[in-house]
Symmetry: C2
Subunit: 188 residues, 2 copies
């Protein structure tokens, strides 16, 4: 290990994986120190606000990733390209459902209240950028909104299903169906 073992930014991804694996309550400080290799002092030096600040930093980091890799393409690129990027990006980001969506998990946990603004922001941005993309693709505004929530729910549910059944194959088939549903909108 080099001189400075870790900076604050270097710890955040590791924190993210711990929160993913254990949830917010299950990620005890003792566990975090053990798995990051950082002592309590270092942790509270990086994150004076304690565990809550750690989780906020992780959520901000996640949001930034989605902003750059998912939302921005949905806003700026050609609809079909953007959709393709979204599905492939999401598939590799969540490792076919073996890596859970921390924001979705937080939405189900009790911690939902604590981080409600981050959680709602994440999903609102996703909903609005995806709906915008579908509008540009030719969807009527209200259909675009419905389809966006439909697709995002499908992705979140695919993660749940993969974790529950321990069968990552579900993920690809579900996303494929979602993608084709985007391409051939049906009447509601």
């Amino acid at each position: 290990m080099s001189r400075i073992i870790a900076e604050r930014a270097d710890v955040i991804p590791a924190l993210g994986e711990i929160f993913r694996r254990c949830g917010y309550e299950g990620a005890s400080i003792a566990r975090i120190t053990r798995e990051t290799g950082l002592g309590k002092g270092s942790l509270y030096n990086f994150f004076p606000g304690g565990k809550e600040e750690m989780a906020e930093a992780v959520l901000a980091n996640i949001h930034q990733w989605f902003e750059e890799n998912i939302y921005r393409p949905l806003e700026t690129e050609a609809p079909d390209d953007a959709l393709k990027q979204m599905f492939s990006g999401v598939s590799s980001y969540f490792r076919s459902g073996e890596r859970i969506c921390l924001v979705g998990a937080f939405a189900l946990e009790e911690t939902r209240d604590r981080f409600s603004s981050e959680v709602t922001h994440y999903f609102h941005r996703w909903l609005e950028t995806l709906a915008g993309c579908l509008r540009r693709k030719g969807y009527a505004p209200s259909k675009a909104k419905d389809a966006a929530s439909y697709v995002i729910a499908g992705i979140q549910g695919a993660i749940v299903l993969v974790r529950a059944t321990d069968d990552a194959a579900h993920f690809a088939t579900i996303l494929k169906t979602l993608k084709s549903a985007c391409d051939e909108p049906r009447g509601a």
Copy 2:
């Protein structure tokens, strides 16, 4: 309150709601005693195995409900009726997403490992009975399996989305789209 305030069976639904609200780790014994009104002694009298046995009882209770109200109709009734029952039953059971699916939540939590057999059983039964129903409706076997996982993922994701956005309206529109997707199978 009557002579015997509560029997074991009476406590289980209350336990279920607490686990739903707080998760497994977040549902402390102190909290359970407070919200059920039962003392520690009574709780450990009903559930000698402690919190783990409480959660198992809740999961068994949930599974039984789905077995009777969702899976059995899917197996025995006419496909279209069974599907209708499933969607309306699920919608009222999860109160349009405002009540989460405890099994799905456990699948995302760390507790997944502890209750993995119950979690996988719940989803496997749902997958197999729904796929069977779709086969009887005319789906090819492999299409039926894919559609079943697609629909169940959609339902689970709808719950996540409702909780995240605090907008229960998503639930009905997503389930409506899922239902129409069952009625008009598209090519994959």
